[in-house]
Symmetry: C2
Subunit: 209 residues, 2 copies
Amino acid sequence: MDMEQETGVKSLRNKEKSKQKFLDAVEKILHTKGFSGLKVNDIAHTAGLDKKLIYNYFGGKDGLIDEYIRSQDFWSNIKDNSAETLVNDGGKTFCKTMLLSQFDYIFKNKNTQKILLWGLIENRKSLKKLANDREENGARLFEGLTDPYFKENAKRYRAIIALLISGIYYLDIYATTNDATFCGLDLKSAAGRTEIENAISFLIDKSYE
Amino acid sequence: MDMEQETGVKSLRNKEKSKQKFLDAVEKILHTKGFSGLKVNDIAHTAGLDKKLIYNYFGGKDGLIDEYIRSQDFWSNIKDNSAETLVNDGGKTFCKTMLLSQFDYIFKNKNTQKILLWGLIENRKSLKKLANDREENGARLFEGLTDPYFKENAKRYRAIIALLISGIYYLDIYATTNDATFCGLDLKSAAGRTEIENAISFLIDKSYE
DNA sequence: TATTTTTATCACCAATTGGTGATATATTGT
DNA sequence: ACAATATATCACCAATTGGTGATAAAAATA
């Protein structure tokens, strides 16, 4: 059971490396073909390994997919910025930065889009866990920062953020799948995206008036 | 070729009725199992007819699904209200009513949710046509009402509406698939939904200040 | 080196899926 | 009643899919 290997030279057969190949294959297929393309045969072929290993290592397709989802660190892109930006403006600048960076991040990260979409279609436990992480992360922000600031209007502000976040999600995904415009705005063009960014800024500002 | 039948008694074999059975089957399966459940065998069995007819009447599964999508009159729920509500307030009350009724309508209409979701996943021509209808419908509103009102800020207002509509879509779909909360709000409860409605009203009001 | 364990492949299975040609049955027109 | 046509069923196929037992090959251990 000694897994230690001092040199960088790895053996030809390596369980951990193989598991990773399967996870990478899931990501690749998800990116190119979407959920419906996630078939065991296809995954195994993409990983360059035998499908039997999926059952040996992950207990089946579902286990593999769950592990892939768990491997996605959903909130890493936010936590970075959050650090110690707790200026005493009721979370205004923080929320604004967070929403704008989300708008950009989700647009660029097709895998994150797929996982978000997945959460609207299936009811996987591992997907629920992701959503739960988001909620817990948000709870800290709301309870510690915005709720005390908005007092009796705290819930309305939460609703505003909910609308903006989910609007951002939808528009980014829509822009990726469709070439069409949305409300006459080209969400793939810099100009169109700037309009959305302006609207986000504007609405946050107005919410603090 | 004489299709006229005076009495209510229909013949056992009726092409139009059979086609409708297939369309109904698609709706039923879409509602219960989602897109991934739309298999020719399953559709035929649900319709109580032979799958061969799907190929005879619709040219295949895709043709049937396209015809189902086309059969969905997406904007009927909006056009009703729109009639002649053109008060000269820059479309404020109209937009507000429209958004609130959408929030309610989409929540109750699971089929509409599925089709919206579909538009985020697949790139079907028939789905594009639906999106196009929405755009054309919106164009009339924007060009005739809000653009003249907001002048140089016209595009920002469009972006605001884009964010709110897509936020409404996402939240309604999310609420249906997940039991979890979003930003700490229970989107299935009357209380939670009222908060969202208040936020929508609030943001529209603020946009017109 | 010989043995044991881990890692990976292979051949094969049953069930599902999309698809079609041959055929049966009902309806219509003569 | 008869033929012609429209409607529907059936049996069957090939390809795909999820899944597994037997086995090979590499690595670790003795």
